[in-house]
């Protein structure tokens, strides 16, 4: 099986600090893959480097193309999309314009279909389409960020901490939607601190610590791994805490 995204021996540095060391991963078609790990483990750095926001040493191939020479905009056109940690919405523009710009790189006719698809996935966005993005609630902003990314009809959607700062109850909603994306033919690479929720919807998982992958495997195997349970899941389960 040829992977949709394949990263091998990736290194990412900020100045002298190497934040990601010798990481290899792949994502297949119609697959949901998650990278879990504490904040600061290098997950966001890795995702940004795959997108081309940060320089990456190593090889990355997407849909059979070597991405080394491509910049962010080319990668977007190739079908790779990132929903960044801070969402990076166009705050002073309305929801509809934000979505419209999400379809900047695809033909106008396709954009109309994208609108329908995104509004079907997030009916709340349709209700608020004339509202400025900056005035939306945190959960709605996350939906808009995902919607904007989906407007460009990506093959692979990379999500950086979609649950960050949202009420646990909205998080459940967001994760349900991520699960639905697979049915729409979109692969997902998901980064989460909320390991429990991520492992529930993912097919496969990588565990990252101090810039390196220390474990990988099917999501269910990872979820039942002793070490993972102790460092990442234990704290999420209430009542399970030992201190």
């Amino acid at each position: 099986m040829s992977a949709l995204l394949s990263v091998s021996d990736a290194h990412v540095s900020y100045g002298k600090v190497e934040a990601v060391r010798s990481v290899s991963l792949d994502v297949a078609d119609n697959e949901i893959v998650t990278i879990i790990g504490a904040n600061g483990a290098g997950k966001t750095t890795l995702l940004n480097a795959i997108m081309g926001v940060l320089p990456l040493k190593g090889t990355t191939a997407f849909a059979g193309m070597d991405m080394a020479a491509l910049d962010i905009e080319d990668r977007v056109a190739a079908g790779l999309s990132l929903v960044p940690e801070h969402r990076e919405l166009f705050g002073t523009m309305n929801v509809e314009d934000n979505l419209l710009l999400g379809a900047f790189r695809i033909p106008k006719a396709t954009a109309a279909q994208s609108f329908e698809r995104v509004y079907a996935l997030f009916p709340r966005l349709k209700e608020r389409r004339k509202q400025l993005a900056g005035t939306l609630s945190g959960g709605e902003q996350q939906m808009l960020a995902m919607g904007r990314a989906l407007m460009g009809a990506p093959k692979l959607l990379m999500l950086d901490e979609p649950s960050l700062g949202l009420a646990p109850i909205i998080v459940a909603d967001i994760f349900r939607t991520i699960g639905e994306l697979r049915a729409a033919g979109v692969s997902v690479l998901l980064i989460e601190q909320n390991a429990q929720a991520a492992l529930k919807i993912a097919d496969r998982a990588y565990v990252m610590e101090l810039g390196e992958f220390i474990l990988s495997g099917s999501a269910s195997d990872i979820a039942s791994n002793q070490r993972v349970a102790a460092s990442y899941l234990g704290f999420q389960h209430e009542g399970a805490s030992e201190i």
């Binding site: 997108m51 020479a69 905009e73 977007v76 919405l89 166009f90 002073t92």
Partner: protein, 346 residues
């Protein structure tokens, strides 16, 4: 106070103010999209005006050659950037934009320039030349600095201003020039006489403001430019090239500058270094507009123009002092109204 004098001064102020408004709009546009405070805007004005004036005498202005030279430099930079992955298509595209285009403009200028060339053709040629210069200026000077701070961009901007102003002296000499009027029509209402020239100034200013409003409000490219201004990373993540946005912003700014120059050169004699001062007054309007608001900038420009007209009548020696210190009360007001919370971004 004499009403006629007052009306006359007001008319003068509004005509100048309209020009400052155009320049202020261009400055706001460029700043919002690229974070560059465009000091060489004044050079776009002089280059446009003086190229037009030189063309009117039937000669080819040196700016046409400058466009080609800058295009060559831009092409060299493109080649250098692409040295790791030389792709024919990319090189050909760069060759077409950076070499073929300015060469064609130069050839066209040589072909069309002459003592009997119609005014409209001369205007079109001047605009083409200056627009190309603006486009290449972004590529050469600012695109490589796109990731740096506003301060570094500002100083680079000053460097461009110095270089272009020096080139202006080489091309046009130290003597001032005037260009032929766009139309000789005139209209008299009460004590006021409106020349075709001043009507053209009003008309074009309004047309430009409306066009910018339509462009930014209703076209995908206009919205993409706004998006770049609001959130650069966000724009890149949806595939909007910030370099493309920057090029468009500089193209528009150089066009606006050149048009402003062509509009005023029949009214006043322009020297190679006049543009700087004119640009700075547009600048004051832009600052008053907070570098974000187009309508506020336009209104501020009209005020700047009027204050200038009145102070040149009542205290001509201190005209510039008054215009430039006009900004202080505005800054005080702005600082009083400044929000208490700083933005979380740096």
């Amino acid at each position: 106070m004499n009403t006629t004098i007052m009306l006359f001064l007001l008319q003068d102020g509004i005509t100048n103010g309209a020009i400052y408004a155009l320049l202020g709009l261009a400055l706001v546009l460029v700043f919002a999209v690229t974070r560059v405070i465009l000091i060489p805007q004044g050079e776009f004005v002089t280059f446009g005006a003086l190229s037009y004036a030189v063309l009117a005498t039937g000669k080819v202005p040196g700016t046409a050659w400058l466009a080609l030279a800058m295009g060559a430099a831009a092409f060299a930079l493109d080649l250098f950037d692409a040295r790791r992955s030389l792709r024919l298509k990319r090189i050909l595209r760069s060759l077409a934009l950076n070499i073929a285009l300015p060469a064609a403009i130069l050839a066209l200028t040589y072909g069309l320039a002459g003592p009997r060339t119609p005014i409209a053709v001369n205007i079109a040629l001047s605009l083409l030349i200056v627009a190309a210069i603006g486009l290449f200026l972004y590529r050469i000077a600012f695109q490589p600095l796109a990731h740096t701070s506003v301060l570094v961009l500002l100083i680079a901007s000053v460097g461009c201003h110095l270089a272009l102003q020096g080139l202006g002296l080489v091309f046009f000499g130290a003597e001032g020039l005037r260009g032929p009027a766009l139309s000789s029509a005139a209209l008299t209402i009460g004590p006021l006489r409106f020349t075709g020239q001043s009507l053209a100034v009003y008309g074009l200013t309004i047309a430009f403001i409306v066009a910018l409003w339509l462009f930014f409000g209703f076209t995908l490219m206009g919205k993409a430019l706004r998006a770049t201004a609001v959130n650069r990373l966000g724009a890149r993540l949806v595939g909007i090239r910030t370099t493309l946005s920057g090029q468009i912003a500089f193209l528009l700014a150089s066009l606006i500058g050149a048009i402003s120059g062509i509009l005023i050169v029949p009214i006043t004699t322009l020297y190679y270094d006049t543009g700087f001062l004119i640009g700075l007054k547009g600048f004051i309007a832009a600052i008053i507009g907070g570098l974000v608001s187009y309508p506020l900038t336009a209104v501020a420009a009209l005020i700047v123009g009027s204050v200038e007209a009145f102070s040149s009548f009542y205290a001509s020696n201190f005209k510039e002092v008054i215009v430039f210190t006009l900004i202080l009360p505005v800054l005080v007001l702005r600082s009083l109204a400044a929000p208490a919370v700083e933005e979380e971004k740096d």
